[in-house]
């Protein structure tokens, strides 16, 4: 029964996917390409591309799209359900723990250490986002001259909008429209 197997496989991937959506990619590959031969490597590359291009959490995109390719809509539902099941149980357990014991010393200490860590990770992620937005590369650009002024324009406008407390969805949609306009007039290339 393909649906049950998909659920079980993606449940396993959900448990071992530690460190966010990207971490699920090698696990999905090992399962759907190497072990079960449900998909070819080139189909897997499609999954990887589409998960990054499509809005939505990358890991969920990947599970959903892999499920669709393997067994249609039912496959998508089973793969996604399997993928999030570990999160459901672990999340509830940890929430209970924090709500109940969050005010006592040790757990408070851990949270006090994690909070600055997250601030640092946001700042570090921001730099990756800036490289991606302005130089279209996720790591330090090799060639800084490859800079996109059109994208900088959108970024600055969006920053002004966010400081003026415009809604984030308006900002994202507006940026998309600006990207299209600037792109069609040749100021942004993709």
């Amino acid at each position: 029964m393909i649906y049950g197997l998909l659920f079980f496989e993606f449940c396993k991937i959900g448990i071992f996917c530690v460190g966010g959506g990207y971490a699920s990619m090698p696990l999905i590959r090992a399962s759907v390409v190497d072990t079960y031969h449900w998909l070819s490597m080139s189909e897997f590359v499609d999954i990887f591309t589409i998960s990054q291009m499509t809005p939505g959490p990358i890991g969920i995109n990947a599970a959903t799209f892999a499920g669709t390719k393997i067994a249609g809509l039912g496959g998508a539902v089973c793969a996604t359900a399997g993928f999030v099941t570990p999160s459901l149980f672990i999340g509830i357990l940890l929430s209970k723990l924090v709500l109940k014991y969050g005010d006592i010393g040790p757990i408070r200490g851990v949270l006090n250490g994690l909070r600055p860590a997250v601030v640092a990770l946001i700042c570090s992620a921001s730099i990756g986002f800036i490289f991606l937005a302005l130089w279209n590369t996720e790591t330090m650009p090799h060639d800084f001259s490859n800079f996109s002024a059109g994208c900088l324009g959108i970024l600055i406008l969006a920053l002004i909008a966010v400081r003026k407390k415009k809604s984030v969805i308006q900002i994202l949609l507006g940026s998309g429209v600006l990207g299209l306009i600037l792109g069609l007039t040749g100021m942004i290339t993709v």
Partner: protein, 193 residues
């Protein structure tokens, strides 16, 4: 930014609809993955609905980041549970997985068009720049807030974690575990809350 703890809203249908709607939108607009969830969570739950504080949002994302699974799903589960127990968790979870399910089912029928379309690429490129503005803004806000507290140890954690992650590409999980342990050992005092 609000610091005081907010009252839990009434658990009526309207509340569950709001929870569903907001989690659905956050999932639909998660662009570029991972930490972009923070500006989105903050705009909705801290600023707009005032269900949680900035500190709660950071705690949630810290826990979501440290557990297995996708950060967006984990934080939806944690937020749902916190706001309305198991029922809240299930609603938030379904609302988080629905947008990808809908989008990708549609896209799977026109995959070739979608990946090759110049128009879609341009729109996504623009949205990427917008997402960058959101995350840069939240990064600066939170950093300024921590600096204003003038506590040496948390600032040292920020600095070393930042260097480890941005310059040396250390594994994020590893950094989070180390910082959690440091917290357990030396940050138990109430002033660090």
């Amino acid at each position: 930014m609000k610091e005081q703890r907010h009252e839990r809203p009434d658990k009526n249908l309207r509340f569950f609809w709001t929870l569903f709607k907001s989690t659905f939108m956050i999932s639909a607009f998660t662009i570029g993955g991972g930490f972009i969830i923070i500006p989105l969570l903050r705009a909705k739950y801290v600023d707009e609905y005032q269900w949680i504080t900035d500190k709660d949002a950071l705690d949630m994302v810290a826990i979501a980041q440290s557990m297995p699974g996708v950060v967006a799903v984990n934080s939806a589960v944690i937020l749902g549970y916190r706001m309305a127990g198991i029922a809240g968790t299930l609603i938030a979870l379904v609302a988080t997985v629905l947008p990808p399910l809908i989008t990708l089912t549609v896209i799977s029928y026109c995959y070739d068009y979608f990946v090759q379309s110049h128009v879609i690429r341009l729109i996504l490129r623009g949205m990427q720049c917008g997402a960058t503005a959101l995350i840069v803004n939240v990064g600066i806000d939170l950093l300024v807030k921590q600096i204003k507290k003038q506590l040496l140890l948390p600032l040292l954690i920020i600095l070393t974690t930042f260097i480890g992650s941005a310059f040396f590409n250390f594994n994020v999980m590893l950094l989070v575990i180390i910082d959690g342990l440091i917290g357990l050992l030396v940050l138990r005092a109430a002033k660090y809350n």
